[in-house]
């Protein structure tokens, strides 16, 4: 069910810089002018700068730098992905919220967003910093009717979709570090952490958690990760529209997802083409073991094939990877 706010924003956003008279808004939406005025007022309270010009009408001068569900619906050109949004000021972790929502039956394509996470996390309980209003801290709920072994493809789709979104929004070309991190100039800008619940032969749901450092200043990065992490602001020197990046990501993802689980071969080819890990000498720490070798291939599940010194190969499914040369 569309809200009036969404409909008003949709009209404004379709014709930017175009003023709308109270009369024409009232007519388009089948409401009284007083009702329109009340909704304009509530949009202003959310931070939308809507100017009222005498004899001309209302003009949307500026949108707030916030993930507001009505604005996302008004902008987003998708059928399913991101068509149900829950946007929070602060949560412990968007993945945690998404997990409980998925358990309660939230539908496919539901997106959980937060302006900040108190306990954002990476693999194995590691901290993921999520300063307020500086990034995209998101979790997407999917319910594909496929075998659990196909799950890695979904994380690769997310990585490719964000890679495209970054390019479309900023012009920067990110690369994929195996398994599914995005890097710019050798530094991490986006991380993906997914959680799955499955039956033996079918996925029940998967939570695609994805974090992007967008408008973090250099001094907002903790010392420990300063050398290995970056943000779109640091790389471009400009503030980047978080809303544009989000919409481009969701739209790109839906295109891939519509073909899922077909075309996985094509998907893998695209990942390989943009993967900075392949061809490099790498070492991977898995548990308390380290495997070193040449990254020669990705198998059909996305696992990394390492060719070791003794000529044997080993498949790697997870671990901390560092590139040696």
């Amino acid at each position: 069910m569309k809200s009036i706010e969404e409909s008003i924003l949709r009209l404004f956003l379709q014709q930017p810089d175009q003023p709308f008279s109270g009369e024409s808004l009232a007519q388009s939406l089948g409401l009284s002018r007083t009702a329109i005025w009340n909704h304009i007022k509530s949009l202003r309270e959310l931070g939308y700068q809507i100017e009222a010009r005498p004899h001309v009408g209302y003009l949307l001068a500026e949108t707030p730098d916030r993930f507001i569900a009505d604005e996302i619906y008004a902008r987003l050109k998708t059928e399913v992905i991101g068509q149900n949004v829950l946007s929070f000021e602060a949560v412990d972790s968007t993945n945690d919220v998404a997990s409980s929502m998925a358990e309660e039956g939230s539908r496919e394509g539901t997106l959980i967003l937060a302006e900040t996470q108190r306990k954002g996390r990476g693999r194995l309980g590691r901290e993921w910093i999520s300063p307020k209003q500086t990034g995209l801290w998101s979790s997407l709920i999917l319910r594909p009717e496929v075998h659990p072994s196909k799950v890695a493809s979904l994380t690769l789709m997310a990585a490719l979709s964000m890679m495209k979104a970054i390019e479309k929004t900023t012009g920067l070309k990110a690369e994929i570090k195996w398994p599914n991190d995005l890097y710019l100039n050798g530094k991490k800008v986006c991380g993906i952490l997914s959680e799955m619940r499955s039956e033996p032969d079918q996925i029940r749901y998967i939570i695609l958690g994805l974090g992007v450092n967008i408008n973090l200043e250099q001094d907002e990065l903790p010392k420990e990760i300063e050398a290995s992490a970056t943000s779109l602001l640091i790389e471009t020197g400009k503030y980047v529209s978080r809303m544009d990046l989000l919409c481009h990501y969701l739209e790109a993802f839906e295109v891939y997802y519509q073909n899922f689980p077909n075309d996985l071969g094509l998907l893998l080819e695209e990942v390989k083409k943009n993967c900075l890990t392949l061809g490099k000498q790498v070492s991977v720490v898995v548990g308390d073991q380290t495997v070193t070798g040449q990254a020669v291939e990705l198998d059909e599940t996305g696992a990394l094939v390492l060719e070791k010194k003794d000529g044997t190969t080993e498949k790697i499914y997870s671990g901390d990877l560092s590139v040696c040369s």
Binding site: V151, P179, S194, R197, A303, Y317
Partner: protein, 152 residues
């Protein structure tokens, strides 16, 4: 007895709304029971000769979550995927389950990771953990036994 036959039995059970089904043949005893969540739990116990290892299919097909063990009432929790086995959600955290712990169907027993997808594995049976078969951080195969659980 192969997976296809077990699958056929499961569909027959579904079709006719049978909640429990037992069959003895070729040295195998097969007991199929529908779990609370509608899952089908497959138990196999050798009748006259030791049962063969559970099928480790090259192409993933339906694999039971629990497998036969010679000991009476002991179930193996099997890995539903290829990945890395973790006993806890972070290296600092306590393992989800220890030897001797009591578990219910919904107890998380471990986490499997592949490509940064974390999969919490549930016990699916009620009982006591009698053996932990895999080391923390070890790679596991599809269908590989992870724990032994003595059923209550």
């Amino acid at each position: 007895m192969n997976l296809k036959e077990i699958k056929e039995m499961i569909s027959l059970m579904d079709e006719h709304e049978i909640s429990e089904f037992q069959l003895e043949r070729d040295g195998f005893k097969v007991l199929l029971k529908k779990g609370i969540s509608g899952n089908v739990i497959v138990e196999r116990a050798p009748a006259s000769q030791p049962a063969a290892a559970p099928v480790a299919a090259a192409v993933p097909e339906t694999v039971p979550t629990a497998a036969p063990v010679a000991e009476e009432g002991v179930i193996e929790i099997l890995s539903p995927m290829v990945g890395t086995f973790y006993r806890s959600s972070s290296p600092e955290a306590d393992p989800h389950v220890q030897l001797g712990d009591s578990v219910t169907e919904d107890s998380v027993v471990c986490i499997l990771e592949a490509m940064k997808v974390m999969n919490e594995i549930k016990s699916e049976v009620k009982g006591k953990i009698t053996e932990v078969l895999v080391e923390n951080g070890e790679a596991v195969e599809y269908g590989q036994p992870l724990f032994k659980v003595k059923k209550d």
